[in-house]
């Protein structure tokens, strides 16, 4: 799956995009967040507080209970501040 990161999430991770193989036991955004946090370093920091994060699956805003699958494009970012 493709993971995309924006704003301070991208900065903390030092990358804006990566490909990962989705572990079969991970079914939701919340579970993916917990999985990424386990990587430690910048990931532990960026994913420490899920309340500060928002997510999109295939370019649609979703809640953290949203289901995910191996071919999805998933993005993590802070609450948006356009306009």
């Amino acid at each position: 799956m493709t993971l995309l990161y924006f704003a301070w999430v991208r900065q903390k991770l030092g990358r804006g995009e990566e490909q990962i193989d989705l572990p079969p036991n991970i079914k939701t955004i919340a579970e993916l967040v917990a999985h990424l946090r386990m990587r430690g370093g910048g990931y532990a920091e960026a994913f420490a507080d899920p309340k500060r994060l928002r997510a999109a699956v295939n370019q649609e805003h979703v809640g953290f209970d949203a289901p995910i699958s191996a071919k999805d494009e998933i993005a993590f970012f802070p609450p948006v501040t356009g306009g």
Partner: protein
């Protein structure tokens, strides 16, 4: 007819109004909103980042919603990205309609949703210090009121 552009380049609001209304005799009102970079608290520059693809989709959804709610003759939205200095233009929303009520309301509706749903992020520079702008709950409240009606 609607136009959505995400780009680095500046825009000319007069030229955009002209493009919306040219050769049309059914438009009685064009409401426009232009957002500018403010130099609050010593801000020296602002850099806008977005999520290419999702931004256009998200804005297109809200344009379609505005067109369903109000009788509109045209919408133009231009949102700039990249590094902008105080006084520079950030965003233009122009809405054409037969009458002013629909134009004003749809323009405000679209701005409220741009603020709270379109995937843009702002990083401020204060001299050498940088910080990401936090989302404001007042913007969420402004968008939420359109749901209650």
């Amino acid at each position: 007819m609607s136009t959505i552009r995400i780009r680095r380049e500046d825009f000319d609001a007069s030229a955009e109004i002209e493009a919306l209304t040219k050769s049309r005799h059914d438009i009685g009102a064009v409401a426009t909103f232009t957002g500018l970079v403010r130099a609050d608290n010593g801000l020296t520059a602002m850099t806008l980042e977005h999520y290419p693809g999702m931004t256009e989709r998200e804005i297109a959804q809200h344009v379609a919603e505005a067109e369903a709610r109000w009788k509109l003759q045209g919408i133009t939205i231009i949102h700039r990205i990249g590094r902008l200095l105080p006084g520079e233009r950030i965003v233009l929303v122009a809405v054409a309609s037969s009458h002013r009520g629909a134009a004003f309301e749809a323009c405000e509706f679209l701005m409220d949703y741009l603020k709270t749903r379109a995937p843009f992020w702002k990083q401020e520079e204060h001299g050498v210090a940088t910080q990401w702008v936090e989302a404001r709950t007042t913007d969420d409240d402004a968008a939420e009121r359109w749901r209650k009606e």
